[in-house]
């Protein structure tokens, strides 16, 4: 594999490796945080004792790595490069060189971000949301100088890279489909990538603008986000008439669709895997595809639910609460669609299927707290507590990561011509499932007890939160188990890539075109999920089979 390759499948693997590097770094940071929260005075190897600002730097970098470099890259552009052209019957992506440029910009963004650890005062402490004036004024805290500049540059470069990747995906889907690959014959993954690429184009360009404005406030004397008379660290820094609320609006207009960019590809993949491993057609295919689109579009008008207690007008809070509650409806349709596929299917519990089921479990568990947080009056208690941390780690992080695991186990033969080990895969699944629930489910209770996010230790000058200390210890133990279980996965990936069982053609008996033999270049005449269950056996018609051959 050439390093500067323009081959989409090689780029897909590079994206997945980049996400793997980011997820390893992000996980290690989170373990340091978990250990520090439970044993705040423990000196850790390599870190020493964690100072309060170190903890906040860990939070910021953990969030940034996971959201941008793992959940935005792997399920979307990573998997899309791996299989999207084949799935629609194209030979390659529409713009191969743009595609390669996007990957290398993403890699550069990751390096710039990690460099923030090594500049004076270290990484920024203002969280992945970087609310000004904390993020706008270097004197506001350690890491808000050079570290924050690097953070802004990194995310700026990442915006450009995502933009290029999305243009490429969108044009490929719109113009490179093989003859006969109509909209209703697209695998659900392609529908999901269509929606996420539109969202990426809209919101990452807007985030780039916001980042440039913030950079300008920091260095060019503008005042978009810093109000008149703002007094930081004994110096008046506010000379214009900016508003921190403007940043919140700009950031969350990006930030909420970003969540759907992370989870929609998983929803598409889960639909394909449920159909495949239940050997059933997708009932209500058009409805489920339309609901992906509806979720994406509604996702653009709900950003205010992150701002119920930010000082936004309470009437606007009501409006955003209603749009947010509306998203529960298409999401419920998707879940019921999946449950219908599974009911009455001839389920094959392979490792990719197990991870897809795990995705569904987390999507339900995390999704159900959505309607609670969508109610401003309840959010006025739960906002920025661990309840929110539990919510998004279940519905975005765990659902997203489980969909990535499902995809890796499923498409591994396309990457290496070998199968991953099923026994290790199942072991990995069960430990990960239980430890993930053990880590994130009890966070609901810490949140209900009022424990805010971003607290480096439970005991403050006024509060002790001693009632949740045992809960917090359990979370930390579970997180350590969760992270350790991933060693099984790493071992499985690298061992199977070298010595795994050689995969036969179409090992999962799938119908979509990425599994087609090299020779098959016919017109597409079939839908994406033509599985059927007969009296004693199952049958299927792949998309590369001609309709005339029907028995």
């Amino acid at each position: 594999m050439r390093v500067f390759t323009t081959n989409h499948r090689a780029l897909g693997i590079l994206y997945l490796l980049l996400a793997l590097a980011a997820v390893i770094a992000g996980t290690l940071l989170s373990l340091v945080m978990r250990v520090h929260r439970v044993w705040p005075d423990l000196a850790l190897p390599f870190f020493g004792t964690i100072k309060p600002e170190d903890y906040l730097a860990l939070v910021t970098m953990h969030g940034t790595l996971m959201i941008f470099f793992v959940l935005t890259t792997a399920p979307q552009i990573g998997f899309a490069n791996l299989v999207l052209p084949e799935q629609i019957g194209a030979r390659s992506m529409a713009f191969p060189r743009l595609n390669a440029a996007a990957f290398w910009l993403t890699a550069l963004a990751l390096l710039v971000l990690l460099a923030a650890f090594f500049v004076p005062q270290g990484a920024p402490i203002s969280g992945w949301t970087s609310y000004p004036p904390l993020s706008a004024v270097a004197a506001a805290g350690p890491g808000e100088g050079a570290g924050m500049d690097l953070w802004l540059m990194s995310i700026g470069i990442f915006c450009l890279a995502s933009w290029l990747g999305a243009v490429n995906m969108l044009v490929t889907i719109l113009s490179e489909r093989r003859a006969g690959m109509t909209w209703s014959r697209l695998p659900m993954t392609v529908w999901a990538w269509l929606v996420t690429s539109i969202l990426t184009l809209l919101v990452f360009s807007e985030l780039l603008a916001a980042i440039i404005l913030l950079f300008s406030d920091r260095h060019f004397g503008s005042s978009f986000f810093v109000p008149q008379g703002d007094l930081v660290n004994g110096h008046i820094v506010g000379h214009g008439d900016g508003s921190p609320l403007l940043w919140l609006h700009l950031f969350w207009f990006f930030g909420h669709p970003e969540v759907y960019i992370a989870v929609l590809p998983g929803m598409g993949l889960a639909t394909s895997l449920f159909a495949n491993f239940a050997r059933r057609r997708v009932p209500g295919y058009r409805l489920m595809a339309a609901m992906l689109l509806v979720i994406g579009l509604l996702g653009l008008v709900v950003w205010g639910h992150h701002m119920f207690v930010s000082g936004m007008n309470p009437y606007a809070g009501t409006a955003f609460a209603l749009t947010t509650m509306a998203i529960a409806i298409p999401s419920t349709v998707e879940v019921l669609g999946w449950l219908t596929i599974l009911w009455g299917g001839r389920l094959r519990l392979t490792t990719p299927m197990l991870f897809a089921l795990g995705f569904l479990s987390f999507f339900i568990a995390g999704g159900l707290t959505g309607p609670i947080l969508a109610q401003p009056v309840l959010d006025a208690y739960l906002h920025n507590t661990f309840f929110v941390v539990a919510h998004f780690h279940l519905v975005m992080a765990m659902a997203g990561v489980f969909s990535v695991f499902a995809g890796v186990y499923y498409w591994f033969p396309l990457m290496t011509r070998r199968m991953m080990n099923e026994t290790l895969g199942k072991l990995h699944f069960w430990i990960t499932l239980i430890a993930a629930y053990g880590t994130f489910f009890p966070m609901h209770f810490s949140g209900l007890a009022g424990e805010p996010r971003h607290y480096e230790r439970l005991a403050g000058p006024i509060t002790s939160f001693s009632a949740i200390a045992a809960n917090e210890r359990g979370i930390t133990f579970s997180a350590l188990l969760l992270a350790s279980a991933q060693l099984i996965f790493l071992w499985n990936v690298f061992a199977s890539a070298r010595r795994g069982r050689v995969a036969e053609a179409n090992p999962w008996e799938a119908t979509t075109l990425e599994w087609a033999p090299e020779m098959a270049r016919a017109r597409v005449e079939r839908g994406p999920y033509e599985y059927e269950i007969l009296a004693n056996e199952t049958n299927f018609h792949p998309q590369w089979e001609l309709a005339s051959k029907q028995e």
Binding site: L56, I125, Y131, P132, P133, L134, A140, G141, P227, G229, D230, L231, G242, L245, V309, S310, G311, Y315, G317, T318, A321, M325, T332, L342, W343, G344, L347, L349, L360, I364, T369, P371, I372, A374, Q375, P376, V377, A380, Y381, H383, N384, I434, G438, P442, F445, L448, A449, G450, P452, H454, G460, P461, I462, T463, N471, G474, F477, L481, I533, L534
Partner: protein, 258 residues
Amino acid sequence: MPVHVILLDAVRVAQSPTWMPSDGALHGPALDHLMRWNLIALCLCFLAAHAWLVAAILRRRKSTQATAPKALPWIILTALCAMYVWMAVIAQRLWAENRFAGPAPEAMQVEVVGEQFQWYFRYPGEDAAFGITRPELVNAAGGNPLGLDARDARGKDDVVSSVLVLPVGREADLRLRSLDVIHGFFIPGMRLKENAVPGLVLHVHFTPSVIGTYPILCSQVCGSGHARMQAMLSVVSPAEFQAWLAARERARIQEGAP
């Protein structure tokens, strides 16, 4: 360990249904009631969906063809949509009660000012008016943490405290400000949270209904001392409050200059 933790948590939740600290505000019981029903309803949905999943897995070998009842998903969808509408309506009514209407005219005025990493509470004094503050006059070491302007007579009797003392049963109208970065003003025991945003003056109002002390936390990351930015709300009897305020007023007048 994880399973054990989940079970332990489940038992605790059964004992104290919401894990929230005891409520001390007038609007709290309605909110707690809503929270409890939401948690129960959504927990049941979670269990039902997983029961369906497990059942689908268990009967996987028996199925000869697709036999899912066609109408059932639509019935469930309709029921769930009705539940979402119910949640939205109930919650909006409470939100409107708490936030749409302003405080009663006789509500007690207190200004809350956040700065890295400290909360200050200012009472307007007998003239019921806050004196002008200027950021360039802020001098915490010199006894003027909020930058009160001595030229403004209205500020002569303003009392600045690091403890929020409120009389029980009287509505409090807080005016939230921040000197530097965004802070989050959070009193779990009063079921109250609103950000303090530099450049904005935001009002929230509530009525403490139970005498006691309640922690005040910062809920928006504001810098390295974020986790230590805490204060105390002390809800006392009206007589005790009058005595406390009068003592502070006397001290303030004797002290003279701000």
